[in-house]
């Protein structure tokens, strides 16, 4: 247990190893650890932000869905109304068409009646003459009585 040069040798060795550590070990390791820590912190922050973004996106999606549903309801309403309107219009059209057809038919019938009447009117004088001939036993001069006959057919 003598104190000797070992004391100084150990001192220098000690300082040498500290210098080595200071040059090659400590800064490199600490630097790396700090960088890594920084990266982890940033990663966690990013994850947090992503979480928030996701939440926001979900909210927005829900809102959009709701909007779409509302819009769909409106559109369906409108469509229903429009359908009812179209049906109504169709009914109106059908009714007016029916009316028109009915009127045309009436007119035709009228016309036919008139024609029949005319035809009848034409024949009335002939029939009347034939009847009168039979009754009188003589021929009636059509030319003489034509004015009277005409009056008769006009009355028909």
């Amino acid at each position: 247990m003598n104190i000797n040069l070992t004391l100084i040798g150990q001192s220098l060795t000690f300082l040498f190893f500290i210098a080595f550590c200071m040059r090659y070990v400590w800064p490199a390791l600490l630097d790396m650890m700090e960088k890594r820590e920084d990266r982890i912190t940033k990663g966690l922050q990013a994850a947090d932000r992503a979480d928030k973004d996701l939440e926001l996106a979900k909210q927005q999606a829900a809102k959009q869905l709701k909007d779409a549903k509302d819009q769909a309801v409106v559109i369906i309403d409108q469509a229903n109304k429009r359908a009812a309107q179209i049906v109504e219009e169709a009914k109106d059209q059908a009714r007016s068409e029916g009316e028109r057809i009915k009127t045309a038919a009436h007119a035709e019938v009228e016309q036919e009646i008139n024609q029949a009447r005319e035809a009848l009117r034409g024949k009335v004088s002939v029939l009347a003459l034939a009847g009168a001939e039979k009754i009188l036993g003589a021929s009636v001069d059509a030319k003489v009585h034509s004015s009277m006959l005409e009056k008769l057919s006009a009355e028909l």
Partner: protein, 313 residues
């Protein structure tokens, strides 16, 4: 075996284990005892290995403990190589294996430094890491059974009486050497941070200082301050070095004493084996704590060196 003879053997055993392998200068005219009992006189100054504790002592200051220095350098290199390798391998990827172990230690040391040292310094962190790892490794040598490495060294060197002490921290030269380095660093940083005048002022004007109107009181106070501060300044490295040395030396002696029981008989030898195990387990705690304490105290002393008391005056 006679009891007196056994006592001498036991004493020899212990003393042999506590003697460093010393390489030093023997002065001219020194009388060397040979192993056969005859004496030879050296003609001139000779650098040689000491063959006995007596010779080692007579070499005085001009001697080196080869085992202490050798082991501390080897262990320091182990630390340096492992850690620099880890530093080189460090990437942004998650650390694994050796790297994560190294980072665990660096992180721990860095936290201690941050907690106890509140200034900016590129030096204190590496210093703390070096102290902790190096001192721990040197202390760790204490857990190797006391006879293994000395016996191996004796066999390799062919000298059965070779002195070989494997735990550098049981050599006061090693612990005091480190403590002196710390002491010089303290003074260096103290002077760098506060200037030489600031350092002297700290030594002379603390803790007692009279205000200006009572300036004459300082004539008495300055010597008192100087005495107190010098003592407390010198006590730091002494306590630092001797604490480590004392703890490890005591542990080593107990290991040696336990090792003595192995030669007595089977029962006592077995008991000794159990005791060795128990003491080794306990010692794991001791070596770790001592390494940690040495580190923390060094950091604290550096903190004191950086601290400035200027605002008080």
């Amino acid at each position: 075996m006679a009891s007196s003879e056994e006592a001498i053997t036991a004493t020899d055993y212990i003393q042999h284990h506590l003697q460093n392998l010393t390489y030093g200068k023997l002065p001219a005219g020194y009388e060397r005892l040979q192993s056969d009992g005859s004496a030879s006189i050296l003609e001139k100054d000779t650098w040689t290995f000491a063959h006995s504790a007596e010779e080692a002592k007579d070499m005085g200051f001009m001697a080196l403990h080869v085992d202490t220095l050798g082991w501390s350098i080897v262990l320091g290199l182990v630390f340096s190589i492992v850690f620099s390798k880890a530093a080189k391998a460090a990437t942004m990827k998650p650390p694994k294996g050796l790297l994560s172990f190294v980072e665990l230690i660096v992180e721990g040391v860095n936290n201690v430094v941050k907690d106890t040292f509140h200034h900016k310094s590129r030096f204190v962190g590496p210093m703390a890491l070096t102290i902790f790892c190096w001192v721990f490794l040197m202390n760790l040598m204490d857990l190797i059974p006391v006879d293994w490495l000395p016996k191996a060294a004796a066999t390799i060197s062919g000298d059965p009486h070779l002195f070989f002490k494997v735990v550098p921290t049981t050599d006061p030269n090693a612990t005091m050497g480190m403590a002196i380095s710390i002491f010089l660093l303290m003074i260096f940083f103290s002077c760098r941070e506060k200037g030489v005048l600031g350092f002297i002022k700290e030594l002379t004007c603390h803790p007692f200082f009279a205000p200006k109107r009572l300036w004459y009181l300082n004539l008495f106070l300055v010597p008192i301050n100087t005495l107190l501060e010098t003592v407390s300044l010198l006590a730091k490295p002494v306590s630092l070095g001797l604490r480590l040395f004392g703890n490890l030396y005591a542990g080593e002696v107990i290991f040696i004493l336990i090792a003595l029981t192995f030669g007595v008989n089977l029962v006592i030898g077995l008991l000794g084996g159990v005791m060795q195990w128990v003491w080794a387990v306990f010692h794991i705690l001791v070596i770790l704590i001592q390494a940690f304490v040495f580190m923390v105290l060094s950091i604290v002393y550096m903190g004191m060196a950086f601290d400035s008391h200027d605002e008080q005056h």
